[in-house]
């Protein structure tokens, strides 16, 4: 734990970010009949934030160990 404390904390932050983004009430903000590039806003937002969370996790983990 100790040697990788910062990675764990960053991942926990990503977890919290994901919890907020992928949940009510943020979700309700995007439940509107708007279409982005032919895709409904809610659908785009969900998959977009999902991908963002995964990308952040990959970034945190795969960055070269210093």
């Amino acid at each position: 734990m100790r040697r990788s404390g910062i990675t764990g904390q960053r991942l926990a932050a990503v977890f919290l970010l994901g919890c907020v983004l992928l949940n009510y009430p943020i979700l309700s903000l995007f439940a509107r009949p708007i279409v982005i590039a032919g895709i409904p806003l809610l659908y785009a937002f969900l998959f977009g934030s999902w991908a963002l969370v995964i990308a952040l996790m990959a970034l945190v983990i795969e960055r070269p160990r210093d």
Binding site: M1, R2, R3, S4, G5, I6, T7, G8, L11, A12, V14, F15, G18, C19, L22, N23, Y24, P25, L27, S28, A31, R32, P33, V35, A37, G38, I39, P40, L42, Y43, L46, F47, W50, A51, V53, I54, A55, M57, A58, I61, E62, D66
Partner: protein
């Protein structure tokens, strides 16, 4: 499409799977494991996506829109926390050789067999419907595809037993799982080949699903935009594109997310793959983002498939089958076959891993504990248990699949795929409180875990399982609508009037409340046994206890002297640390500390130095923090220091105390011995004195009586008697005087008239006093004193004379009359005068040289019959000489005469010599 084509394809696929598995096993045996890389690990984790995902997601999306997503968002979020939770679970499982989740929970709470059995039972009951769901999905896809090119839903009526594809699928899967899972037994329960096959299956199902999705999205329609635009125009489909305003979707969402977060950790198959089959803790790093990515990919086309299917088919086609029926409807036979294989891979993967995990649990935590108790089986006397074990595993696998099949026949078509899956999830989620409690809460007890599990499972059964029986028609509908026995408050799906939640959220809320509440409550009320406390510490502090596992990783690192020296200096003292490092530098052949190579060897040297001061474990932590360039928190350092120094101080104090205690008890023992000895001496003394007094008294009395009774006695006779009486009376007086004197000397109350004197004079006087005695006995007395002046000594003249007279009269007594010769010698030695009195009597046995100085001991009495002393002369003489600071002793051999000698210390120049007290 002909049935035999499907059978051949299915068997070809299973054959391929088996080939991959044996290849994996062979590679593992050759030491070149294919599963020992993070990609395989992440792919095998995707066993999470069963047919429930492959077929069921589309079905759920067709009725709930985005409602299928939380089941994948939960694991995604949880993956971020794997860094803490999963790593810890893996570390614990590796360190303590955990083989299943039942084993894990049982081990944590004091290695409890009851708990292990309980977890196993719940797992089997909870997961069997899930397995039956896989059988159902595979058999339905088989039946549907057989009708190709027509899209016909299978008849709702259950097929006759022997024509039922589900049965054959169950049996084939059982055989296959047995082949995979129990080919050999391994202490760690690891199955490399199986993992390889599962990873392969994950690729297959992803490819199949993406192919179908891409075909429908881009082949049938013109991309995502097209599908969504068309759906938007349909009154029926529009609600699927947004969150339903009513129906509590926002309320369901977090519950489902939470539920899937828990299950990704505690599902038996996930535990098997992510923990038991894990090769290297480090693989988890990549899996943390790779596994969510996999789930994202496999879900991208779910909504387009659902919308496309709903638009193409009427209500006659089940949305759960869209993945298969969409290509069929477009006359794409090959694609439909690929979808079938994808579904098959999703189903087989899940079934294989789940039944292996469950069979391990059933065997290790349910059957074996019972069998080992049956003494008549004599299992514990058998040296090789692998055959019965394998047999039990195989029976368990078959049993579980048969159970799944029975459930499949019984439940029939009453429930959609997703609903069954969620019921299973909710059952398995009951392990979560015990699981998290076991790795983060030291205080959880065995009773708490059992109470929580039982309570949670009971609530689950009441709020989800019984209602599902109602839907299958096994229980009357009034049970749901009016509550049991008409009690409205106990309605299973509106417990205590809680409404407005869907059944899963409702169950999850109540069961978790009861589960966590009982777990914590009972734990806090009760007490932990020693076993539980020990296990709790082992689990919660696993990272502190297994640092050595990380060692190999550590010492690839390095640290410069400039960092290490201050650290060591903090514990050893700067000077000592510097000296140690300088010595190390000299051994390395460099002149100064600055020239030292900052390599792993230096780090190891520093660790060794530190280990001597604060113990090996603490040292490793300290060094590790430095090597990783992360300075340890001051709190951690203080903690380590505190603990180490406290323990050292304690043990030091303890040692000191016990040493003191030992000393004290030794002194006490000695004092006690001395007291006993003194007591004994006193008793002896008293009895001896009375004895000595009685002898003269008896003779005085006897002669007096003769004189009294016989007046006729002749005068000479009378005179002789009277002389005896006088002599005995004198002896009596002498004896009493001596006893008194000895008592005085010993008690220190004797009076001493110490003056300076010339010992020559005293000797002369004494000789004169006893000369009469010598003459009477005809014993020759000679003096050897040279004429020169002798230094003066300080002593009591009378007492010294007493000593001399005593020694001289003793000499007379032992010598034979007319033959005896006694010589007195006076000499000056080192700081003392020495007087020897030598006789030529019978001598004294060397063994008795000290005894003669004891009170009332008259050595040689029996030899000569002549000694008539009181037995107190020598003891008194010795006390007197010792009082003057000198020494009195005897040298003698039997038949060689004896020499009594004493010394008197000479006065030191210019000062009063303090007199040494005898006692």
């Amino acid at each position: 499409m002909q049935g035999w084509v499907l059978v051949i394809v299915a068997f070809a696929y299973l054959g391929m799977l088996f080939a991959v598995a044996s290849w994996g096993d062979r590679r593992a045996e050759a030491g070149r494991s294919i599963i020992a890389n993070p990609w395989t690990y992440a792919l095998s984790l995707a066993v999470y996506c069963s047919t429930w995902t492959f077929y069921g997601s589309v079905g759920r999306a067709a009725s709930n829109g985005i409602g299928f997503l939380p089941i994948y968002l939960g694991p995604t979020l949880m993956a971020a926390l794997w860094w803490y939770a999963m790593r810890k679970i893996i570390r614990i499982s590796k360190a303590y050789r955990i083989t299943s989740i039942a084993d894990f929970i049982a081990t944590r709470y004091g290695k409890s067999q009851i708990l292990g059995g309980l977890v196993t039972v719940i797992a089997v009951l909870g997961v069997v419907p899930y397995i039956s769901l896989q059988l159902k999905a595979i058999s339905r896809s088989f039946v549907i595809l057989r009708n190709y090119p027509d899209v016909v839903m299978p008849a709702q009526a259950v097929a006759p037993f022997l024509n039922d594809t589900g049965l054959y699928i169950a049996l084939i899967l059982a055989a296959f799982t047995i082949l995979f899972g129990t080919r050999h037994l391994d202490a760690t329960e690891r199955h490399e080949g199986m993992v390889a096959a599962i990873a392969f299956e994950s690729v297959v199902k992803l490819v199949a699903f993406l192919a179908v999705g891409a075909f429908v999205t881009f082949g049938v329609y013109h991309g995502f935009g097209d599908i969504f635009r068309l759906a938007e125009q349909s009154e029926r489909l529009r609600p699927l594109l947004t969150v339903p305003a009513s129906g509590g979707s926002y309320a369901t969402w977090p519950f489902l997310t939470f539920l899937s977060m828990l299950t990704i950790l505690v599902l038996p198959r996930q535990f098997q793959i992510s923990v038991v089959e894990n090769v290297d803790e480090d693989h988890l790093r990549r899996a943390i983002w790779l596994f969510p990515l996999y789930m994202l990919l496999i879900n991208i086309f779910v909504l387009p498939l659902a919308l496309g299917g709903l638009m193409l088919f009427g209500p006659g086609v089940d949305a759960d089958t869209f993945v298969l029926t969409l290509p069929m409807a477009q006359q794409k036979g090959a694609l439909a076959l690929l979808a079938f294989v994808g579904g098959l891979s999703a189903g087989t993967g899940m079934v294989i891993v789940e039944t292996i995990a469950l069979s391990t649990m059933v065997c290790n935590d349910l059957v074996m504990p019972v069998l080992l108790r049956w003494r008549w089986l004599r299992l514990n006397e058998r040296t090789d248990l692998s055959r019965p074990l394998r047999l039990i595993r195989r029976c368990a696998i078959t049993g579980i699949l048969v159970l799944g099949y029975i459930h499949f026949r019984a439940a029939g078509e009453s429930y959609a795929l997703v609903a069954t899956g969620l019921i299973s999830f909710a059952a398995v989620a009951q392990f979560a409180p015990a699981m998290f409690g076991s790795i983060y809460w030291r205080g959880g007890t065995h009773s708490g875990a059992i109470a929580g599990l039982c309570g949670g499972f009971a609530v689950w059964a009441y709020t989800l399982l019984l209602p599902s029986f109602v839907k299958s028609g096994w229980l009357p509908g009034s049970f749901l609508s009016a509550g049991p026995l008409g009690i409205g408050l106990l309605k299973p799906q509106e417990l205590f009037g809680l409404s407005g939640m869907d059944e899963i959220s409702h169950c999850l809320f109540w069961s978790m409340l009861v589960n966590v509440g009982l777990h914590v409550g009972v734990s806090l009320i009760g007490r932990q046994s020693a076993d539980e406390t020990e296990q709790a510490t082992l689990f919660v502090d696993v990272f502190r206890r297994t640092q050595e596992l990380e060692r190999s990783a550590f010492w690839r690192g390095s640290a410069p002297v400039a960092d290490l020296l201050p650290l060591i200096g903090r514990f050893l003292g700067p000077d000592r640390a510097r000296e140690a490092f300088l010595a190390y530098a000299r051994r390395q052949g460099v002149e100064s500390l600055e020239d030292l190579e900052p390599d792993a060897e230096l780090v190891a040297f520093a660790e060794n130095q530190l280990a001597g001061a604060i113990g090996g474990a603490s040292a490793r932590v300290m060094i590790a923090s430095l090597v990783q360039q992360q300075p340890p928190g001051i709190d951690e350092v203080m903690n380590i220091l505190d603990e180490a120094s406290q323990v050292r101080a304690y043990s030091h104090r303890l040692e000191q105390k016990s040493r003191e205690l030992e000393d004290a008890s030794r002194e006490l023992r000695a004092a006690n011995e001395q007291l006993k000895e003194l007591d004994r001496m006193k008793d002896d003394f008293v009895s001896t004195v009375t004895h000595e007094l009685r002898t003269p008294l008896t003779s005085i009395r006897a002669f007096s009586e003769i004189l009294l009774e016989d007046p006729e006695i002749h005068l000479p006779e009378r005179k002789r008697f009277l002389a005896i009486i006088v002599k005995e009376t004198q002896r009596l007086t002498r004896l009493i005087n001596q006893v008194l004197e000895l008592a005085k000397i010993e008690s220190g109350s004797a009076e001493w008239h110490t003056t300076e004197m010339d010992v020559k004079d005293v000797i002369r006087e004494s000789v004169e006093a006893v000369s009469q005695l010598f003459r009477e006995s005809g014993i020759e007395l000679s003096m050897a004193m040279n004429g020169e002046a002798i230094p003066l000594v300080r002593a009591d003249r009378d007492r010294l004379m007493q000593v001399l007279i005593n020694l001289l009269s003793n000499a007379v007594n032992v010598c034979l009359p007319n033959q005896g010769r006694v010589e007195i010698r006076l000499g000056v030695g080192a700081g003392a005068l020495r007087v020897d009195i030598q006789d030529n009597g019978p001598g004294i046995n060397p063994a008795d040289h000290e005894t003669v100085f004891e009170k009332f001991r008259q050595v040689g009495d029996t030899l000569t019959g002549k000694l008539r002393g009181t037995g107190l002369g020598l003891p008194i003489s010795r006390r007197i000489i010792e009082h003057f600071g000198g020494r009195l002793w005897v040298q003698s051999e039997l038949g060689q005469g004896a020499t009594f000698s004493f010394t008197l210390p000479l006065q030191r120049e210019g000062g009063q010599r303090p007199l040494q007290l005898a006692r």
